[in-house]
Symmetry: C2
């Protein structure tokens, strides 16, 4: 379920505040959902709550982490060392939450060998090796739109079956591969849409 990471985040925050137990109501509001939804989601994981009391923060956090598969670590490779790729390579947010960036890759031999954020850029030809030897499981595509499908194919051929795509294109992949696309321009366009609706509403009833 796509909301579990949100719950885990809220639980981690509570745990670091020293809270031991939390009700569905409190946790739901911290995660920005309704309490009924939270309870239903959690009930799918099993019954980890105690009626009349609530949920044990640490216990629930472990259960969710286990459900998400966060007990093992998931090596990540970033493909495409343009602007966005370099930014992602320098971003510490991945490591902070347990995702180890084990390789920076680029197709262009002129970029290969360059050192970015302390890591030497390698060739995309090394991908099969990374999957085989280092257990690489997640690929991040930060190439320009033109190169995204090719980068994706290379990842998939090497055995990667989870892809996080930042390029503004629709990627075609086999059924067993999961792609999640994050497109910053799309997000801004949706915000522009709301901005315009607001402006129109204001013009009608100022």
């Amino acid at each position: 379920m796509a909301r579990l990471p949100g719950y885990l985040r809220a639980l981690t925050a509570l745990a670091s505040d020293g809270t031991l137990s939390v009700s569905s109501e409190e946790l739901a509001s911290a995660a920005g959902v309704s309490s009924a939804m939270l309870r239903k989601d959690l009930s799918h994981l099993g019954s980890y709550g105690v009626r009349g009391v609530g949920y044990d923060v640490d216990r629930l956090a472990s259960e969710i982490a286990a459900a998400l598969g966060l007990t093992q670590d998931w090596p990540v490779a970033i493909v495409g060392m343009g602007n966005l790729g370099r930014a992602l390579a320098a971003y510490r947010g991945f490591a902070e939450r347990g995702f180890r960036v084990i390789a920076l890759l680029d197709r262009d031999e002129r970029v290969v060998g360059e050192v970015i954020a302390g890591t030497r850029v390698r060739s995309t030809a090394d991908l099969p090796d990374l999957v085989e030897r280092d257990g690489l499981a997640i690929g991040v595509i930060a190439t320009p739109p033109e190169g995204a499908q090719e980068a994706c194919d290379t990842l998939v051929d090497a055995g990667v079956r989870s892809v996080l795509n930042f390029a503004p294109v629709v990627l075609t992949v086999p059924d067993e591969v999961v792609v999640r696309t994050v497109d910053l321009s799309t997000e801004l366009q949706i915000l522009a849409f709301h901005g315009q609706r607001l402006a129109v509403a204001e013009a009608v009833a100022p």
Copy 2:
């Protein structure tokens, strides 16, 4: 509708290929949706298709752009000049799609004045001015999680009503303000979840 930006992207690609007319089937597959859904979505905008022929690419692109409010420009400010903020400041993707980054802001006076990607960092205290004088409408939050709510409040108080949030927190805002949150770790956790499901499925039926 959240799919309009995807349609617009596909149409722009078609237009640059010189295509003049497109059927719902073709456009749907380019945008990665079903043709029935595409037609239903477009029918909400009005009847811009011709039965037996399809849609005029340029015409439809203009209509969608107008619906999204992309006929005017939407000035953007980025708040928080940490790792992620600097990366976003250097990212050209915004400008390429018509969103002008007019200001880089930080709360910390030691960062103010620094020049990043050719722009001088200003203080968040300048926000009311930016809204008033430059028509700032969209704020991007790239602060650490602890500072995100404060940054958001500052934006809202200054009159910004569309916020793109990269911090992994749930922001509380008045009803008229729209927040879209993009959390890279959440995306990776969802991928980890799928990765684990795949591994489990394989263990059961190898």
